[in-house]
């Protein structure tokens, strides 16, 4: 018994713990991202406010925690609500990282001075047009604007090349716009930036005059197009893929890509940021880098049908290739101020009561 010194006890204890952690591996989707055995607890934890939903992102965060040994604690909610919460909490927020589903909430937080600076080597993982010029956010996946249409109501020959065709008489009462949804608002802000506020405003007013129908979000447009309640709608490409994956061939709608150089083909990116007050910047930067790593980027395109933005990963075959003439992604930095004016224009168009 005298051999069992306190030292050996500690050693035994340590090996017991080590033993259990070397056995731990992941299963399900997370295992597609990281299939090795989990690292020992690094004694750190990153707190994340995620506007990306758990069904898509949780496997990525599980893989990160397993591979690095850094714990993750997540508040899952709507991006807008989280931005409001971060604004309310200010420098006392427990969050280290904010993941946004669309650029708007990030622009809002940037204007409020609530975003921290991301490390240069993390920023360098993404192309310049998909990250902040001042280092406050990175894009980690993309969703492309498309026209979703009902197969039985719209003939191939009828399909438009540009959103400007939709103001034509032949589309009267047939088009759906998710006009107050975050991604539409962001898209419209870029539209104003690219084409000029006058042109964008006139387009929206013409759409309203042409009987465009309002829907609250992308999902409800895609669902309505599937049932044939509307013929065509301007949405993110993602939802129709998801609807087909869920409902199968019963879903009677398809995505249509507008011309490469049309504003209706914009890529809207989802973004990751650090909070200004994070006291855990190293682990948080590590998480951001992880989002941009090859296995995660591959996961985003293969499992969630999104466009990868880093690590040289190509979009999965199911996705239409991104155009060579890509007109660029949302310039969040311009969004902060542009946002208010966009909301005003959309409100004033009266689309929300169509």
């Amino acid at each position: 018994m005298r051999l069992l010194t306190p030292f050996t006890l500690v050693a035994l204890f340590a090996s017991a713990c080590g033993g259990s952690s070397t056995e731990r591996t992941l299963d399900g989707l997370a295992a597609d991202i990281f299939s090795g055995t989990c690292a020992a607890d690094a004694g750190q934890e990153v707190t994340i406010y995620s506007g990306r939903t758990e069904n898509l992102i949780e496997p990525v965060l599980d893989a990160f925690a397993c591979e690095t040994g850094i714990g993750v604690a997540v508040r899952w909610a709507d991006s807008t609500q989280l931005a409001l919460l971060l604004d309310e909490e200010g420098d006392r927020t427990p969050a280290d990282v904010f993941l946004s589903r669309s650029p708007g909430p990030v622009g809002f937080l940037e204007a409020r001075g609530l975003l921290g600076e991301i490390d240069d080597d993390v920023l360098g993982l993404v192309d310049e047009e998909n990250r902040s010029a001042i280092g406050s956010w990175i894009g980690f996946s993309g969703r492309k604007r498309v026209a979703v249409y009902n197969l039985d109501a719209v003939a191939d020959s009828e399909l438009p090349d540009s959103i400007f065709e939709l103001t034509d008489e032949k589309w009267r009462g047939r088009v759906a716009l998710p006009a107050t949804n975050g991604s539409f608002v962001d898209w419209f802000t870029v539209f104003r930036d690219q084409a000029g506020t006058d042109v964008a405003t006139k387009w929206l007013d013409d759409m309203v005059a042409n009987g465009a129908k309002y829907y609250p979000n992308n999902r409800s447009v895609v669902e309505a197009a599937g049932r044939g309640e509307v013929d065509i709608g301007l949405v993110n490409h993602y939802y129709n893929f998801q609807e087909v994956a869920a409902v199968g061939d019963d879903h009677r709608a398809l995505n249509h890509d507008l011309a490469d150089d049309d504003i209706g083909s914009l890529l809207i990116i989802t973004a990751a940021t650090l909070t200004k007050s994070t006291d855990n910047a190293d682990a948080a930067n590590e998480l951001l880098a992880y989002l941009l790593s090859e296995p995660v980027q591959r996961y985003f395109t293969e499992e969630t049908f999104e466009y990868p933005l880093a690590a040289g990963v190509e979009p999965t075959d199911a996705l239409p290739p991104l155009s060579a003439l890509e007109i660029g992604t949302v310039d969040f930095d311009a969004l902060g101020g542009g946002f208010e004016e966009t909301t005003r224009i959309i409100d004033a168009s009266g689309i929300a009561n169509q």
Binding site: E54, P216, E243, R252, F339
Partner: protein
Amino acid sequence: MSTTSQTTPPRLLTLVGAVLAALFAFPTIYLIRRNFSSDDDPAGSAADTGLIELLTSERTLAPLWRTVKLAVTVSLTAALVGTALAWLTTRTDIPLRRLWRTILPLPLVFPTFIGAAAFIRTLNPGGLASGLFTSVGFDQAPELRGFFGAWLVLSLFTYPYVYLPVAARLQRLPGSLEESARVLGDSAAEAFRRIVIPQIASAVAAGTLLVFLYTISDFGAVQLMRYDTLTRAIETNYLGRASLAFALSLFLLALAVVIVGFERALQRRTHTATSARSTQSVGYSLGRWRVPGAAFVVAVGALSVGAPMIALIDWASDGLLRASRNGRPLTIDSEAVMSAAQNTLESSVLAALAAVAAVLPIAFLVGRYKSRVGSLSHSVVIATFALPGILIALSLRYWVLKSGIASDFFTDSKLVLIFAYVVRFGSLAMGITLVAVQAVPERFHDVGATLGARRLRRLRTIDLPLMAPGLLAAIGLVLLSTMKELPISLIIAPIGYRTLTTRIFGSFEDAFVAETGIMAVVLVAMSAVLTWLLVLRRAEHQ
């Protein structure tokens, strides 16, 4: 009925009432602060030039008018439907009464964003029931949208606010007056008008007020029905024009205060008949009206619960079938669903009990002592129901951070979550509890006091048994509403504390409809069991 009344409330009770009023006022104070201080809001405050002009412009007044129009029509419809259902299921011989009494409260548990979406999925053109429409000669199903769609779906989802209190009230009404009226030659209809209506009027009014307040604060249903109300303008302006959103929220609150005052004035003029403990209430044989009566109950049940359930079950079964055939696997497993269901159960039961406990002192102050402090607390509790949930969530976060050293303790605390639910839904318990308090005959008290029973003992042996159906209905209302609550559950819950509704929201946002369907079916099944246990079984064993 005795007219002697203890006019001065115990001091402690008044103090408790005042503290409760202050606690319930947290969101209102926050809202006023957001409107009238501009220091930390670069977008400016309500006092800034331009905003006042905007608030009184056509762009604001038109949605405001639509909100009022919708709230009035939904309130009237829910009052009629809820009262009729309560009478049919408690007083008549329509078939399967117990089944209906389990099913009819269930629309409360549908989060409107999912309930309305499922409703559309079933009934709109090309939907799951479109075969039904074409088989009866329609070209296609009518498109539910705009005012009509919003009115229909909100009426169907809010009638339980009237149904539950009125059913609880009808169960406790002495049958003797009705019997006498019948003996003296009144027809059933006359007896209903002369005897029953005056006795249930206060319960109907309290429930209808909730319907009104719910309707003006609803966002999920109106946006899916594409009816542009004030809440749409609020929700879509938070990021772009926060000051406008907060100013519009103040509009909602002002509207709520006006309508609450109106209801108080009305209640003062109605007379609450007292409850009886053991007298049998009158049961009516409907005779040739039995079939139309049953058809009405079936129709409401089929539309309000059946239609959304068809879509939810369709989504759920599609997903399960596909996963079992080696198609795309589900992103949730039974463990995840169980733990979310457990959290939902825990938080909603605690919130329901806490809410009833919180409003009980206020109900005594108002109902028994006609106290001013009580009246004020009562109005604060009820008007808060008109505030969007996200505002309550943000305001609590604000106050927690303001609480200095206590803020660490309160951050990520379940206590704050339950408190937030109580503030959000205390109003639901307030009206019924007040009616229940007022219905305890004062002569019982006088007798009890004469016999020397202490106050607490009187509460336990006299008041609570007589109030039981009302209190259980109050618990039921808060319980079902908390189970579906979204913004507070997302923003205030401790990190990692996930409920069925938050998981349903996440799944639905990214169009994981199978997962949405499965968890929504679990949510509805769970609430059916709870309704049966709480509101029905207990009440019938009294």
